[in-house]
Symmetry: C2
Subunit: 848 residues, 2 copies
């Protein structure tokens, strides 16, 4: 792992000064023939810029052939395909024994082979892109090769044993999530794991100290309470065995057995409460906070270092791209520089080459957008830009600029007289007025109250129609007032949201009413609906019955199915249909309730928090992958250890075994008493849900107690390990992430310490305002409606406008950079390398 | 509250420039007669310095009379007395109905009157110290007056009603903890409360958003689950009532009902798990983290601002003290300045005045220590110091310097021949050797294992003697090697710790053995022991029986006492005594186990964490007071609401009411089933323990469920309020505090960004080393033993040495300042005021 790190940063990042020089020279050779830069050069420069833009860190071979392969390698579809194949591979756990939906072995094996083939092809492709020497020195590639080999070996062994009638363990399933980590695209996930690994020594120190404290407290508990012949509420002995005491007090760390473990001693004498209070204060509160502090601090520190490296690499790549494209401008270029008073040749990039490059990197960018970006860079209209300005290109391209075309409303073209009439203008004014928004916010709130009421009440169901009519009216009025293509633009999230919800609600309400009134007339439709629902139900039954042995399974299906389907089939056959449409209505109701978010989103102080939360969303995907990897591994191990040990019975089953989850060892256990039978490791879905419950830690001892009862006390090791990994480390990283995001948010908001990215956006904003627009853009950025409305105004407005969605960060790294840029002093690093650039003359970012 | 803040900082801190000038002028008048500075001036200057040193912020009247009163006011004993009286007042809850130990009303009332009288006297004293105008404008004084008045009114009303046979509510008890907040000494507690109050708006925004999310999820749950006729495990309906749903999901925020609330829906269909998973991820994890982020950020921000103000005030006070004491040095003084080349008069303070001042401020400081401090300040031996150097005095006095006198061992004086013999020297070398420490660490570890074993085993009990002998030997050897007065110096914590533990263990083991062998011979001693234990027991019984009505109580005491006392009295009468000595042994065992901490403390990486934790200790006292105030208020309200509703029965009671905690409403409730009867509000001790259990939040719904069952569902408001105040706000502050302490620790450790305080200590350290010692002090600071040992060396060593205990911060404010000094840029504030001082010439802190 240590080597991998060195590899990644070594190959992509810290290319030595010598190599850098070589690059510079090679580029100079090409720079001589100023106009006819070869296609290869542009390809290579484009690849550098796009790598910098997306923070890719692949040490590809710069030969034209490899670059072409690399362009293909970076194709978005291939990325998606790799993840699809990995996800399919991971999802195979659903179909393998113990399965949610059982598939024959040959089917899952074939699917797995296809996935492995796809990943192998990807790795081969990768090996063609980068120099062979680097490929074999990179541990992540070796890991992938080893994993695939192990997969194949395991499949052969398992297949052979299966064919000869023996059962075996599919141990390679544990390795599956490692594909997610070691695939080239998993850069961010690898970074997260590296950060955790680097934090481990510090965590270990605190953990040892905690264990010491735990052992001392257990010893005290043994001495204080062991000899008093106390009994727990279950009648078991109380702190008589040292190892049991350690476990009990470990559970108290999770607070899962909080008052219960204390009660026997507390009932005996109030003084013993002191012991437990001390334990809770020291271990449960203090040590858990220290864990958070250590995890937070170390994770942040290492991640910061990685991001710093990343930014360095990015600048290096951009510098290389610049070297490839640069032309030398002599005294002619120097005339424009003005202030610096430097005489000599300045390497610059001309507008034509820059345009070519941007076309190469982002083919779908509009000409207007491209020209806007150029105008920002080339502040003085010199027709070329220097190195400093060129280095901004990746950040500039990463800022999402939405091009708005101010088009007239279709009605205005079709019937201008009517559309411009007084009544029509009044309607426009009403719709654009604030009160209109407030009224509809109020309507949504009132509707939420009605949703909460009983929908059997005729008043309520009639009110539904009234609300739907009001909502429809709202959409129609807005469509009448605003230009429809602008209204349904890609970034108008709330408009899409509203329209889809209201149309589905309308559809569902109509179907529901129709079903209620003419259920006998609508037979075919009803059957269609019920078929969907039956398949849903079927999945459900399989979920429930996988716990049973195969022999029992059929019996349950046969005996149980009619009973369970009775309520499904009956209404279909004899009446109402109200029950059938309930599920559709449920979903629509939930969606309608979500409209309330829109109301909340209009209040600024709430909006700030929601914005912060949505901004953490995308980077949280990496965190989601982290959780997936850990959960998957524990689920696979758990399934091998505990599958079939605990069984689920249907709700109306009369089997006496239902009382103890089909395992006599669970008789009278808290696990069975709480009806936790469905919390088991019998399939991958149940396992994941159980692991989530264990993450929440409440009733942890009851849940784990069930599994130790049916196996052995040693099973506790598995659960304690899970607790340490997930609750102590991973959840703390989650908390740290949210804390950090909010701190950055508060810092930026309060101390006006704008990060460089935000500064850039603000300055861009100014530029746009000054040069292209008539000062209305800033407002236009706030509310789309506003900007649409002012087209009535006397001013002549341009037909093209730009909107910067500054609140979104396309990549995880952008947020991370923003998170750490305030703290890491990147300029110090770049000082040496950029010393020569200091005198260059594109002061585009200081419009005085 | 807003006014109070303004008051405190306004009166003490931001004394206007005009007033400052006036001060300066007045001081100048005095400064004219250089030698004969009046006693009043010294008193006043001393008060300023001591206020700066302890961060007191009292706007006292600078008239000589008021200053003398103020000196008395600041006397340590009076401070302690005030806290004692407040604590006694708070502790009255133990003796008032519902009481732990019942005392008649006249007794508690008399005690309360005494406490109130004491506090009133203190307030009157305070009113004499500060100008009357300020006294009545300060809300904390008005609060105290109002509180005392309300107390008296309530006592009269209650007394009158009690005398006429009516029962009433002692509502003024809720106000008691406010004394702790509003007393002048409670400055830090007030600051904490102010910080919380200032953070409230932000917390409220997040809380509203959370409530919104809760309401939406409840609406969804109602729609999705309410109509499915599901039942919980208790057979109650499941998500059919909106308010119930809201409460259930609120409880899920605490995770207390984690898998249980999901199980009915999950058993019905696995798909419903998605709903609960979403809820847990969004509300339980994300929102709780956001709460931590908001509380942390705001608390830190406001506290930082307060500390900044505090530091400013401190410098102002020191500047005033300087003005009082300054003398003008003309060109004579200028000769010494050297570098600055400034010509003119420099105000300075001469050594004689400085010495006088330090004597005034800290009478118990040793002459050597005082001279050391002066030598640090007056680096160039000029005999006077400038303003900049003078301002360091408070920080210097706050650094704990321990004066070590290198004395010869008494044995060396009594019998030098023997003490200096070869054998004796070998013993010295052995004891000072590292291996000696390691061997005893190993012995302690082995002993810990033996403690864990069954002490009935004769091998184990004999081993105890062996261990005790070894420990005794260790202490005797150390006493022989090291000078006893140095060994038992005030700061030698571990030596004291070891000796006390070992002596008590020896005593207890002897008594235990004696009791076992000759119990009949030791009658008197045994009876003495048992009397102690009986009183203990008695307290216990009263604790148990307060739940019962007074009529029942006697009966229980009569019927129950013999049964409970049987095991107590029997062994006393007939045999063994082993049981009696158990409790003594228990305590000694626990203490012996604590010796393990010493072993852990020798490992550096553990030591770093333990050091950080112990350093947070003292500031945590403020946090403890915060918790005490909140708990006390909730306990008082809870006792009024729920007292006597739930009753406790003795373990061997056969009363059928024991099954349902004496309240038929609790029949078959989870509360009674879990045997939680002792978790009640029947007296103040039980209330506090219950509130702690509610803070831990596990089984929160079961605990609160019991109280809502015996009263009304509205009781939930009380518990939810408690949860919001304690778990969401106060516990998060606790976590924030620990996080911050560790971050500062890591920052200082890792980035070498030493805080100014630490820098100062280091530089002091250097000074001491260079000027006074022969270079051995740094080592001496590390291990006391070392320094004792090297007296054998050939070098001639001074008889006096200093040890700086840099790791301790005497005041809460010192840590806070250190916590925030790295971030707050104090110099910017002082720039204006200190601009004139910049040219002064005491570069004492730059020994080149």
């Amino acid at each position: 792992m240590e080597r991998r790190e060195a590899e990644e940063s070594g190959a992509g990042g810290n290319m030595s000064k010598v190599e850098e020089k070589k690059w510079s020279r090679r580029a100079d050779d090409g720079g001589e023939n100023k106009e006819n830069l070869s296609k290869e050069k542009f390809d290579l420069a484009g690849v550098y810029v796009s790598d910098a833009q997306y923070n890719r860190n692949i040490p590809f071979d710069p030969s034209p052939q490899a670059v072409r392969l690399y362009l293909l390698y970076n194709h978005g579809l291939l990325h998606v395909l790799v993840y699809v194949f990995i996800m399919v591979d991971l999802a195979l756990a659903l179909f393998e024994e113990p399965a949610v939906v059982s598939l024959p072995l040959w089917a899952t094996s074939a699917m797995e082979l296809v996935c492995l083939l796809a990943i192998t092809l990807r790795v081969i492709h990768y090996s063609k892109v980068i120099p062979r020497r680097i490929f074999f020195r990179d541990p992540k590639n070796l890991c992938i090769i080893v994993i695939i080999t192990l997969f194949l070996i395991d499949m052969i062994i398992y297949g052979a044993l299966y064919a000869s009638g023996h059962s075996s363990v599919r141990w390679s399933r544990v390795l599956r999530p490692l594909l997610l980590v070691n695939v080239t695209e998993g850069q961010q996930l690898r970074r997260a794991f590296r950060s955790i690994r680097n934090a481990l020594p510090q965590i270990l120190v605190v953990f040892c100290l905690f264990i010491f404290s735990l052992l001392i407290f257990s010893l005290m508990a043994l001495k204080l309470l062991g000899k008093r012949n106390l009994k727990t509420i279950d009648g078991t002995s109380y702190f008589t065995n040292y190892l049991e005491s350690v476990f009990e007090l470990y559970v108290l760390l999770t607070t899962a057995n909080s008052p219960d473990v204390m009660m026997p001693a507390y009932n005996y004498s109030s003084y013993f409460a002191i012991f437990f209070i001390l334990y809770i204060v020291i271990n449960t509160y203090t040590f858990m906070s220290v864990f958070l502090a250590v995890v937070y601090n170390n994770y942040k520190k290492h991640l910061k270092e990685e991001v710093r490296q990343l930014v360095k690499t990015k600048r290096q790549k951009l510098r290389r791209a610049f070297c490839l494209l640069k032309e030398n401008v002599g005294t002619v270029g120097n005339e424009g520089t003005g202030g610096t008073g430097e005489i000599g040749t300045n390497p610059v990039v001309s507008q034509s080459r820059w345009t070519e490059l941007v076309k190469q990197v982002q083919p779908n960018i509009s000409t207007a957008h491209r020209e806007l970006l150029w105008s920002v860079l080339d502040h003085n209209n010199k027709g070329h830009i220097g190195k400093q300005a060129f280095l901004q290109i990746a950040d500039l391209l990463n800022i999402q600029v939405i091009t708005l075309k101010s088009r007239p409303h279709p009605f205005q073209l079709w019937m201008p007289a009517l559309y411009n009439s007084t009544v029509s203008r009044i309607i426009h004014r009403i719709v654009k007025h604030r009160v209109f928004v407030f009224v509809y916010d109020a309507v949504i709130l009132v509707n939420a109250v009605f949703i909460g009421l009983d929908e059997e009440d005729p008043l309520v169901s009639n009110a539904e129609w009234a609300f739907l009519t009001l909502y429809l009216l709202e959409i129609l009025l807005k469509l009448y007032t605003f230009e429809p293509r602008a209204f349904f633009a890609r970034h108008q999230f709330w408009n899409w949201f509203d329209t889809i919800i209201i149309l589905s609600a309308l559809l569902a309400t109509i179907i529901n009413a129709a079903l209620k009134s003419y259920s006998f007339l609508l037979g075919p439709q009803l059957i269609l609906l019920d078929v969907v629902r039956l398949s849903w139900r079927y999945a459900d039954i399989t979920l429930d019955t996988v716990a049973l042995d195969t022999s029992q399974k059929l019996a349950v299906l046969v005996t149980d199915a009619p009973a369970r389907h009775a309520p499904t089939i009956c209404p279909l056959l004899n009446s109402a249909g109200g029950y059938t449409s309930r599920q559709i209505l449920d979903i629509v109701f939930i969606l309608r309730v979500l409209r309330l978010i829109r109301v909340v989103d209009t209040i600024p102080s709430f909006r700030a928090i929601i914005d912060t939360l949505t901004r953490i969303g995308p980077p949280m995907l990496t965190f989601g992958q982290l959780i997936l990897v850990v959960y998957y591994i524990f689920a696979m191990v758990g399934m091998e250890l505990f599958k079939g040990k605990i069984q689920v019975f249907a709700a109306n089953s009369t089997d006496p075994a239902r009382e103890y989850c089909g395992n006599p060892l669970l008789k009278d256990s808290a696990f069975a008493r709480n009806n936790y039978c469905k919390n088991n490791f019998n399939d991958v879905v149940s396992s994941f849900i159980l692991l989530l419950e264990l993450t929440v830690v409440n009733q942890w001892h009851v849940l784990t107690g069930g599994f130790t009862a049916v196996t052995h006390n040693a099973a506790r090791i598995f659960f304690v390990l899970f607790h340490i990994v997930v609750v102590i480390i991973i959840i703390n990283i989650f908390v740290a992430f949210i804390l950090e995001a909010f701190f950055i948010e508060y810092m930026v908001e309060k101390t006006d310490l704008h990060t460089s990215l935000e500064k850039k956006i603000e300055e861009l904003n100014l530029c746009v305002e000054q040069e292209q627009m008539n000062g209305n853009l800033v407002e236009a950025m706030e509310t789309q409606e506003n900007d649409m409305g002012s087209s009535e105004g006397a001013k002549t407005r341009p037909t093209l406008m730009f909107k910067i969605s500054s609140k979104r960060y396309r990549t995880m790294d952008a947020l991370l950079q923003r998170m750490f840029e305030t703290e890491t002093d990147l300029s110090a690093d770049d000082m040496n390398e950029d010393a020569e650039d200091m005198n260059f003359s594109n002061p585009s970012f200081n419009p005085a």
